[in-house]
Symmetry: C2
Subunit: 423 residues, 2 copies
């Protein structure tokens, strides 16, 4: 008998019907002889409704009280789910993040899990219960205040619990059939991936794939917890994410796992920077002090005549204003002529462990983009990923061209509607 | 500097506007130099909406999970209220019942408070915060499960916290101006009572007055915590409930405090019971074993020829079916001919400490009913209360007649809309 952790997103439990459907699925896993722990997000639009209420009483709701408010969402869905399971004749108990032993730091609205002490969950399981746990939330170690984990937090809760309980698998149920070779909204012929390594999944997540968030995959890799991403609406096998292929069937590691894209970033170019040591450091110290994460960085070749150069970097659009302000404030300290801000960019990334041993991949990638008439503005690479920045308008065409060029197209249009995965 | 506990019901915080209005009121109390603890119910219809959801997933939701679900309601209102107060420039922190140290027994859906350990509240106050506490909820002492206190639970939370924190007063804010000499929906000329003793208030609550529940008043009397019932919509003084009149003004204890009525009860008559010792005991042991609380009991004079008698008692209509079933099941053990069930009854009660020393009160009460043409079916008295059972149709007329006969009518129609007080 194994222990399975299942996580259901907000779209899977959007209404009473959804909750009853999910309850049946959970009971099946239990009937198959497993101990079952379920992590659940807030129902459908609950979180948005709560945020809306908060904004009506306070223009900038945040911090401790905001977390207290939002965690009401999972409290509702988890209690209803436990009731629905009991109504099917099985024992179930729901637990808040705090009750489940999800201990976090004190950074409200985006806390990090620092420990999981699932004593009550273990007891509930040993007594024959299905344990339902609120995703997305925990309790701070020092002040015992309620915290939330930020976007994608429920997936992280599920993986963290799976690790703490030494689960066989962490099943992430969502409204798509799994991880695809590209975003199916953009590439109709995108294929579902049967198995992908943690490393490739990490690169896809970092490059704009939204099915699993980076933090959750990182956690799973650290504790070597296999993730099975699958649809709560179908009975199909989804995508396994693990260190090695699972099961009898020997799955060959693909050369290319997929093509990811991201249009949520902007580019800042710092123009007329003296080409001398310490300049780049001054710029990126300024950005880091403003607590902004940057992505790609490129320094142009210096024009010999002037001794000046340009430095470009990309960052989330949402941080654009803050970065510009920070740089302007430190203009004299850094020493530059001007700043250029461009939020009409997109990033296309090709991910695959096979790149390491297939030197032709990079060339084929650039040829495909060139054939599609797509101009490249920035390039960045890792051992198993190549990313380029293009005009935002070119992204969809570029993704399709690359997907086809690397033989990833499916024979049929799988055309799945692709949505968010809740929190 | 004093410590004030304020309680706001669901109708006072029904929407964002209500929450902002209440926040201003709380900040005023703080500005007046008080330490302020606020107990808040769920917003307006939240509880009903949650119950509705529960019924959609399970026909008989109850117990642990139902409590987990319902407590989401206060979590939302208390977090929003804390945000609204912070937005006015004051520090506020919200606490669940569990965080506030409200320890209960393990009877889900109607738990009783067995201890209050408000360490975190005290710390929050000492740090200059306004403390917002979820009403209606606690945590069970043995299993550490979330519990709810049942109807009127938020009032009890407020009084219990006031006692544990040694507050000067517990202010119960509601949507009426205070406690009235009769239900203003029935008696237009009902007057607001300025002060009433714990004893009279207990009798009024037991007799159908819904402004304060019996349990809450009992708690306040035990710990001698003055209650001030007042409107959250006006700045008016409401009704003080305490052992002695409060303040400089000497308030004379009224002979009659008020007239209460109750149409939520039914009458069961056990017909043809042998008139011998132990019969009544057998009947009421049967009822007690079914965990049904009864109110009034009357045994008719035995007819000498048959040696049989009838025993009537009243009980909540909601328990009617259960009582009939229990009695029928035990018919041979008890020995009776038949059962009569009547849910078309009403109860009118006259309450006042002055009855003890004014022997004419009972006579005047019956005269008023007689003059109004109201037939009396059962009578029950305590030292400071007389109650009669009549036809339900006669109740309104009877209440008005008694109210007038005892000189309680106001000179003007105060005509306040009278609503529930939330939970």
């Amino acid at each position: 008998m194994g222990l399975v952790v299942q996580k259901y997103g907000g779209s899977s439990v959007a209404d009473a019907e959804g909750i009853k459907r999910v309850a049946k699925r959970i009971v099946e896993a239990k009937k198959n002889g497993n101990q079952v722990v379920v992590v659940v997000s807030a129902m459908g639009d609950t979180t948005d409704e709560l945020i809306d209420l908060a904004e009506q009483v306070s223009p900038m709701p945040a911090g401790r009280e905001f977390d207290m408010l939002l965690t009401a969402g999972e409290r509702i869905s988890m209690a209803l789910l436990a009731m629905a399971i009991k109504n099917l004749g099985h024992e179930a108990q729901s637990f808040t993040g705090s009750q489940a032993g999800v201990i976090t730091d004190s950074v409200h609205n985006k806390a990090r899990i620092i420990d999981v002490t699932p004593g009550r969950i273990r007891t509930a399981l040993d007594e024959g219960n299905i344990a339902i746990v609120a995703g997305f939330q925990g309790v701070s170690q020092d002040k015992k205040d309620i915290t939330t984990l930020g976007r994608g937090g429920s997936d992280t809760t599920a993986v963290a619990l799976a690790a703490a309980l030494d689960a066989e698998v962490c099943e992430i149920y969502t409204d798509v059939d799994g991880v695809f070779t590209a975003d199916p909204r953009v590439v109709k012929k995108a294929k579902k991936i049967d198995w992908i390594s943690f490393e490739d999944m990490l690169e896809l997540a970092a490059s704009g794939s939204k099915v699993l968030l980076h933090r959750c995959v990182e956690y799973a890799r650290r504790y070597n917890i296999p993730i099975h991403v699958r649809s709560s609406f179908s009975g199909l096998q989804g995508t396994w994410v693990s260190s090695e292929p699972i099961g009898d069937k020997k799955v060959e590691q693909a050369i290319i796992s997929g093509v990811a894209h991201d249009t949520s970033e902007a580019k800042i170019t710092v123009v007329g920077v003296p080409d001398k040591p310490g300049e780049a450091a001054a710029i990126f110290r300024t950005i880091a002090d403003a607590e902004i994460n940057i992505d790609m960085v490129v320094q142009n070749v210096s024009a010999a005549s002037t001794g000046l150069t340009d430095i470009s970097f990309t960052l989330p659009k949402t941080e654009g204003r803050k970065a510009i302000d920070a740089l302007e404030k430190n203009r004299s300290g850094i020493g530059f002529d001007s700043l250029r801000y461009d939020d009409q960019i997109g990033k296309i990334s090709l991910v695959g462990a096979g790149m390491k041993t297939n030197p032709g991949v990079t060339a084929a990638f650039f040829e495909a983009l060139s054939d599609a008439g797509v101009n490249i503005e920035l390039i960045s690479t890792s051992e198993i990923r190549i990313s380029v920045v293009t005009r935002a308008d070119d992204v969809a065409e570029a993704v399709r061209a690359v997907h086809t060029a690397f033989g990833l197209d499916s024979d049929s249009d799988e055309a799945v509607v692709y949505g968010g995965t809740g929190r």
